[in-house]
């Protein structure tokens, strides 16, 4: 398939892996731990597991799966708040599919749907708006989730609703922004990260310059990366080159999608509709200042938090949960005490086990899969 297969080419991947090993070999590993590179975005985590990339890399290089899965970092309290909105009989509560299983303190959206709440999966906020137009007697609420990647589509939907005066549509806004969270990670004393793969689709919206502080203030290489396996490998190689050369820069591997300045239209829509919250709770990481987004007062008519009384539940993560340490790269998913015992994809305790992009769920589903090459038999048949 054009524009896809080129980025999954085995021979090119092999050359990149050899090149990665070569550069890695030239980097003096002074500490008694492997070199650690964090992929910030859940989409990267997904690709890394989907293509078995970790198993192809030298053991002296470790990939740490970062906090960039918006579903994973959604706190229990916000799920509870969403459910309290969905419980209003007039409400049709709409959400992206992968938020359906995120556990609240008592139940997930999926369980609440089974208990009779009108909760529906949509593929885009525009679908939710269309639903509102079809059901003028109901209040359609969209569960706005995600980083800057999904923020513009929610903003444009609100603008469309405002333009057409669709009064029975609102957004329960849980959008978050990655930059303050990266900063919180970098400020963490336990941090052991040598470089970053930057989020490709977030950068397509906000550009690459908001990440400059990572290089300038924290002296870590930061390479914005695409999501195909060759993108990921090339970006890893670019981070290693910087380390070898003693540089820390923001570089853009994903130039076919990401412009340095981002997308003007998307940024305009974001600026028009949203403003920063003082602080926002992240599952596993706690409260992070200026990391959450809310809807501006001018669009209060489309803000579910204005339309409904939201309890603003603050619920602590389960005490045994070590998601925070996994997110910071201190623990690998398998090293958490709960991994695959109390916490599984069927009964996720921690956020990272919930979405397929969560580091723990990805490890659970895809990892541990290095086997002997038993494929001898396959060669005889076609």
């Amino acid at each position: 398939m054009k524009y896809i297969d080129e980025f999954r080419d085995r021979d090119r991947a092999t050359s990149l892996i050899i090149e990665i090993a070569r550069v890695l070999g030239r980097i003096p590993l002074t500490r008694d731990r492997p070199l650690k590179i964090m992929e910030v975005c859940g989409g990267h985590t997904h690709s890394i597991f989907r293509y078995g990339i970790e198993g192809l890399l030298p053991p002296s290089l470790e990939l740490v799966h970062g906090p960039g899965c918006p579903v994973c970092v959604l706190p229990i309290g916000r799920v509870d708040d969403g459910l309290s909105i969905a419980a209003h009989p007039e409400v049709i509560f709409t959400t992206f599919g992968d938020a359906m299983r995120v556990p609240g303190s008592h139940r997930s959206l999926l369980q609440a749907k089974a208990e009779g709440l009108d909760i529906r999966m949509v593929y885009s906020p525009m679908d939710a708006l269309a639903l509102a137009r079809r059901h003028p007697d109901r209040e359609v609420v969209f569960f706005g989730l995600g980083f800057e990647t999904t923020m513009p589509s929610t903003a444009l939907t609100i603008l469309a609703a405002a333009a057409d005066r669709v009064c029975n549509f609102s957004v329960f806004c849980n959008h978050i922004t990655i930059v303050p969270t990266l900063q919180a990670l970098l400020d963490s004393p336990a941090l052991e990260l040598d470089g970053f793969l930057g989020p490709g689709h977030v950068s397509a919206v906000i550009g690459t310059s908001p990440f400059r502080f990572v290089a300038e203030r924290y002296h870590r290489p930061f390479v914005v990366a695409g999501f195909e396996p060759l993108d990921v490998l090339q970006a890893i190689w670019m981070v290693l080159l910087q380390i070898e050369q003693g540089r820390a820069d923001v570089e853009n591997q994903y130039a076919r999608v990401v412009a340095t300045a981002g997308s003007r239209q998307a940024l305009d829509a974001i600026a028009q509709v949203y403003e920063l919250r003082e602080h926002f709770e992240w599952r596993g990481l706690g409260s992070i200042d200026r990391s959450g987004i809310r809807i501006r007062r001018a669009f209060a008519a489309f803000d579910a938090e204005t339309k409904f009384v939201v309890p603003n539940a603050r619920v602590a993560d389960p005490p045994a949960c070590q998601c925070g340490d996994v997110l910071k790269g201190v623990l690998r998913p398998q090293e958490c005490k709960m991994f695959a015992t109390a916490c599984t994809p069927e009964t996720p305790l921690g956020a990272l086990m919930v979405s397929s992009e969560g580091a723990c769920a990805a490890s659970y589903h895809y990892a541990g899969a290095r086997l002997t090459e038993g494929s001898g038999h396959l060669r005889v048949v076609r």
Partner: protein, 366 residues
Amino acid sequence: MSAAPRTLHGSRVSLAHGSGGKAMKDLIDDVFVRAFGAPDNAPLEDQARLDIAALAAQGDRIAFTTDSYVVDPLIFPGGDIGTLAVYGTVNDLAVGGAVPRYLSCAVIIEEGIEIDLLRRIAGSMATAARRAGVEIVTGDTKVVPRNACDQLFVTTTGIGAIRRGRDLGVTRARPGDVVVVNGWLGDHGAAILGARGDLRLDSPIESDCAPLHELIEVLLAAAPGTRCLRDATRGGVATVVNEIAAASGVAIELDEERTPVRPEVRGFCEILGLDPLYLANEGKLVAIVPAAEAVAAVAAMAAHPLGTHTVALGVVMDPWDPRDPRDPRDPRDPRRGRAGRVTMKTRLGGHRLVDMLVGEQMPRIC
């Protein structure tokens, strides 16, 4: 059938059609008897009366299976709920090595459904039954009030004869065996998702629903040592292969580069973040074949119209290979030891686990 069936008045089914009275008889005669014909041996009885000797001539065991069919939308590219209800049950018989013979057909109809729609579905059941060489010999009709069911639910039960000497079983996979599938994966799942319309994707994908009994006969003639067969319906090939690995206590490794996926279905999955390995099929089977017969099996299936794109998708492996230095490093890892474990060699040469789905496959957020 003595007289020509009366044609119903009105265009929609009402609760009167489920009352047990004349309206119901008219509905059954007009829609179902007209399509299926009345069985010769017991035309007006409450039960079909089947000839034991005829069944016994075809095998030494009876295969008996039942399945309920619910699908939204009722009609989709490549078929409808009627086609599914016939082929699905035929395939459940056939993967046991049986010659499918008889079906029952029970329908639960929601009040208000168009009678023409019922006629069409009954018609496609009749066509499907002819193609699959089975007779629909008994049935039941219920009408329920609006919202008590979603338009139409169909349950079919099937009877077939298992040929003497055939012993297919999900516990029989052995290390060295080869995993064979008969072509494009995920067509049905993608066709249904596309037909629901809420994705607003203009997708030309057709369901693959088809009866597999002939293909299975071809396969078993070429590879009589075949260990087991499964049709890869809900949960897709990934789920079936996991079930086989778990039941047989073996590991299975699939090869991503060999995974047969139609470009349209691949594109569909790329857009939605779905994995075709988990999409439903209605005309695909997974066969576990001994290595020595694998070449013959693939060649024979590939020569059949329903197996044109047959591939050897993977191999069965010893779960306790002591030469493998790469068992999970963590001794607390419950997946240590590989019995029941399904992996895929990725196109880059890496490996990933192919696990059972927890629930429905959900499209990813971004």
